[in-house]
C-alpha cells in the first residue's frame, strides 16, 4: 500500500470576488521509501500541495490517505497527532524557535508526543550527533550558521522517527556548499533510515539527488518521471 494516496485534490483560494484554484484536481501516489522532488514555476501550487500533504491545510475536495489513515476525516487534535507522529517538516526558513537551544528545539516534537524528559534528552543528543552537530547542543539558532540551523531542523524532523519527511525548498536559503551538505543528509535519511521524502525545489541540481521528479504547472501535475539508477 502506498504511503501517500492523494486523489483529485482541489484547493480554491477566494480573494475578494475572485476564486482561484491553486490546486486543480491533483492526484499523486507515493510509495514507502521514495524520494520525490516536486518542481514547477513560482505560483504553480507546490507549497499549497505540500501543506495538504503536511495536514496543515484542508483541500476543498478530494481525498488524502496517509499511511492508511483517511486524513480528510480527522479532527484538529487527530491532525496534530498525525503531524507529530507520521511526518517531519523541513522548511526553507528553518523555522526554529528563536532564543531556544538546539537541544530544546529538537525535543519539541517529543514533548508533544509525551516522551519522558530523560529519554527525550538522550534522543535529542543522538539525532543532533547524526546531523553532525555534536558540541552545538546548547547553541541558540542565532549562534550557528544557516546550514547548521537547517541541520537542527532536520534533527527535529526525525526526532520522533516518522516515516515521511516533507521539505519545502530546504536549500532555498543556503549557498551551494551548504546545499550539498544538506542534500547529502536527505540522501542518507532516504537510503539509510528508509524515510520517504517529498522535497520541493526550483533547482535541477537539487532534483538530481531525488529518484522521482513531479512537475507542477498552474495547479496541475504535468509530468511525473522516475529516474533510472
Amino acid at each position: 500500500m502506498a504511503l501517500i494516496e492523494a486523489k483529485n485534490i482541489i484547493k480554491t483560494y477566494i480573494t475578494g470576488d475572485e476564486h482561484f484554484n491553486a490546486l486543480n484536481g491533483v492526484s499523486l501516489s507515493i510509495e514507502k521509501g521514495e524520494f520525490v522532488a516536486i518542481m514547477g514555476a513560482s505560483g504553480s501550487g507546490k507549497s499549497t500541495f505540500m501543506n495538504m500533504l503536511g495536514c496543515l491545510d484542508k483541500p476543498n475536495s478530494g481525498t488524502y490517505v496517509l499511511d492508511g489513515i483517511n486524513v480528510t476525516d480527522l479532527n484538529l487534535n487527530e491532525l496534530a497527532d498525525v503531524r507529530n507522529l507520521k511526518m517531519g517538516f523541513v522548511f526553507q526558513g528553518f523555522n526554529l524557535i528563536s532564543r531556544t537551544t538546539a537541544l530544546d528545539n529538537v525535543q519539541l516534537p517529543m514533548i508533544y508526543k509525551g516522551i519522558e524528559e530523560e529519554e527525550r534528552v538522550k534522543r535529542a543528543y543522538e539525532v543532533l550527533e547524526i546531523v553532525g552537530l555534536k558540541g552545538r547542543e546548547h547553541h541558540m539558532p542565532n549562534q550557528i550558521s544557516g546550514g547548521q540551523q537547517q541541520r537542527v531542523a532536520i534533527a527535529r524532523a526525525i526526532a520522533n522517527d516518522p516515516p515521511l519527511i516533507l521539505a519545502d525548498e530546504p536549500t532555498g536559503n543556503l549557498d551551494t556548499k551548504m546545499s550539498i551538505e544538506i542534500m547529502n543528509f536527505f540522501v542518507k535519511m532516504n537510503e539509510e533510515m528508509g524515510k520517504t521524502i517529498v522535497l520541493v525545489t526550483h533547482e535541477s541540481d537539487i532534483a538530481e539527488y531525488c529518484k522521482r521528479v513531479v512537475h507542477f504547472k498552474d495547479g496541475s501535475i504535468i509530468s511525473d518521471e522516475v529516474k533510472r539508477k
Binding site: N51, G54, L56, D57, L76, N77, A80, D81, R83, N84, L85, G88, F89, F91, N95, L96, I97, S98, R99, T100, D104, L108, P109, I111, Y112, K113, G114, E116, E117, R156, N160
Partner: protein, 409 residues
C-alpha cells in the same frame, strides 16, 4: 499525553527569554499585592487599636444621666438639672439584676495646687467600684475605700499625668494638695492608661463622692450626682439590664406614661459597635482601593500576554506544525500568565510586609497588623487573576490556524 511538567518548563524558558518584560508585567501584580497587604494591615491595625481603646475605657457599661429638662421650651444640656442621687444608685444595685458593679459619679473641672505648682484637671467624685468599672489600676498607694466615703475623708487618688505635672519625680503619697482651696491628702496614683482619641485618660483625680458633695462641689441640688455608671455582668444581658434600670427608675421617680423621663441611659455596646463598624467600613474601603490596583495589574498581564501571543505567532505555528494541539498551546500561555502573577504575588507579599512595617515605623501612632489571612488571600487572589486574565490571550493563541501562523512574519 503531554505532561504538565514539560509545559511548565517551556513556559519558564519563554519567560526567561523575555526577562525584562516578564519583570515589568509582574510589577503590576507586585504593587497590587503589596497594596492589599499594606491596606489590610493598616485596616486591622486601626481596628485593633480601637478595640484596645474601648477596652481601656471599660466594657459593658451603662451610663445613666439626668435628662435635659425643658425650661420654657429651651432644651438645656444633658445633666443640667441633676435628678439622680446616690440613693438611686444604691437602690438600682440592690433591685436590678445583671449588674456587676455600679458607682455614682460627679465631675467638675478644678484647679489643683501643690506648693507653687498649678494644674487644672477634672475631679471625679466616685465610689470605690468606679476604678474597677473603668479599668483604672492603682500603680502605688491605695484606691478610694468605702471607709473614705463613710468618713467624708479628704483623700485623693491621682491620675499619672497629674502626678507627673504636680510632683515630677517626688513621691506624692502622703502629700497634701489643694483642690479649689480644700486640702486633700494623696493616697494613691493610678497606672497610665494612655489616651483614648484626643482624650488623656490619665489627666484626672479621684475623690470620694460623699466628700465632694459635702465640701467640694457647690451644687444647687444637694445630694444629686451627674451620673450613675454601671457595669453589666455580660454583653448578652446588657440590653435587658438597661431596660430593667429604665423601668425601675421610671417607677422610682414616679414618672407617668405621658411624662418625659428625667434620666437617660446610654449603652456602651451600641457606641462600641458603631465605632467598630466605622473602622471596619474604613478597612474595607482601603482594601477595595488596593484590590483595584491588583485588578489593574491583572489587566497588565492580559495586555502583555496579548502582545506576546501576537509576537510569537510564528512560534505558535511552528509548535502546531510539529504536533502541538490547541490545548497544549493554551496551557503553555496560561501557565506563563499564572507564573507571572504568582511570582508577582510572592514578591508582592514580601514587599507588602516590609511596606506595612515601614508604614508603622514612619507614621506616628499608626499601628499595623499583618495577618496570615491577608497573605493567603492576596496570594490566592493573584493566582486567580493570572488565570482570569491569562485565559483570553491563551485561548486566542490556541485558536490560531497553523498555516497562517507559520506564514506570519
Amino acid at each position: 499525553m503531554i505532561d504538565t511538567k514539560s509545559i511548565l518548563k517551556m513556559s519558564l524558558v519563554s519567560l526567561k527569554v523575555n526577562k525584562m518584560r516578564s519583570a515589568l508585567t509582574s510589577l503590576g501584580i507586585i504593587i497590587g499585592v503589596s497594596a492589599v497587604i499594606i491596606m489590610l494591615a493598616v485596616g486591622s491595625g486601626a481596628s485593633k487599636k480601637v478595640q484596645q481603646n474601648m477596652e481601656s475605657m471599660g466594657s459593658n457599661l451603662l451610663t445613666i444621666r439626668s435628662a435635659s429638662a425643658k425650661s420654657g421650651g429651651v432644651r438645656q444640656g444633658i445633666g443640667s438639672k441633676p435628678s439622680l442621687t446616690i440613693k438611686d444608685a444604691e437602690t438600682i444595685l440592690k433591685n436590678v439584676e445583671g449588674i456587676e458593679a455600679l458607682s455614682p459619679v460627679s465631675s467638675e473641672n478644678k484647679q489643683l495646687m501643690y506648693g507653687n505648682q498649678n494644674w487644672s484637671t477634672t475631679v471625679y467624685a466616685v465610689m470605690p467600684s468606679y476604678f474597677y468599672i473603668k479599668n483604672y489600676e492603682i500603680d502605688y498607694g491605695r484606691g478610694i475605700s468605702m471607709e473614705d466615703n463613710r468618713n467624708y475623708a479628704k483623700v485623693a487618688v491621682l491620675g499619672s499625668t497629674v502626678a507627673t505635672e504636680l510632683f515630677g519625680d517626688l513621691d506624692p503619697i502622703g502629700r497634701v494638695i489643694r483642690v479649689g482651696n480644700i486640702p486633700f491628702k494623696i493616697i494613691g496614683v493610678t497606672k497610665t492608661k494612655g489616651s483614648a482619641g484626643p482624650f488623656d485618660q490619665d489627666d484626672l483625680i479621684f475623690i470620694p463622692i460623699t466628700t465632694a458633695q459635702r465640701k467640694v462641689f457647690g451644687t444647687a441640688f444637694p445630694g444629686t450626682v451627674n451620673m450613675i455608671i454601671a457595669k453589666g455582668e455580660n454583653s448578652e444581658t446588657l440590653n435587658q439590664t438597661e431596660k430593667d434600670i429604665d423601668e425601675f427608675l421610671t417607677a422610682r421617680h414616679h414618672i407617668s406614661k405621658n411624662q418625659e423621663k428625667d434620666f437617660e441611659i446610654r449603652n456602651s455596646a451600641e457606641f462600641q459597635e458603631k465605632m467598630q463598624s466605622t473602622v471596619q467600613t474604613f478597612a474595607i474601603l482601603l482594601a477595595s482601593i488596593a484590590s483595584v490596583s491588583l485588578l489593574v495589574g491583572g489587566i497588565g498581564i492580559m495586555n502583555i500576554m496579548l502582545v506576546s501571543v501576537t509576537e510569537r505567532t510564528k512560534e505558535i505555528g511552528i509548535r502546531m506544525a510539529i504536533g502541538a494541539k490547541a490545548q497544549d498551546i493554551r496551557l503553555q500561555f496560561l501557565i506563563e500568565a499564572v507564573i507571572l502573577s504568582l511570582s508577582g504575588g510572592l514578591i508582592g507579599i514580601l514587599t507588602g510586609v516590609i511596606g506595612a512595617m515601614l508604614v508603622e515605623m514612619l507614621s506616628s501612632g499608626l499601628s499595623v497588623q499583618i495577618s496570615m489571612f491577608s497573605i493567603i488571600l492576596s496570594f490566592a487572589f493573584s493566582g486567580i487573576i493570572g488565570v482570569a486574565f491569562g485565559y483570553y490571550p491563551a485561548h486566542k493563541a490556541s485558536l490560531l490556524n497553523p498555516i497562517d501562523a507559520l506564514r506570519y512574519e
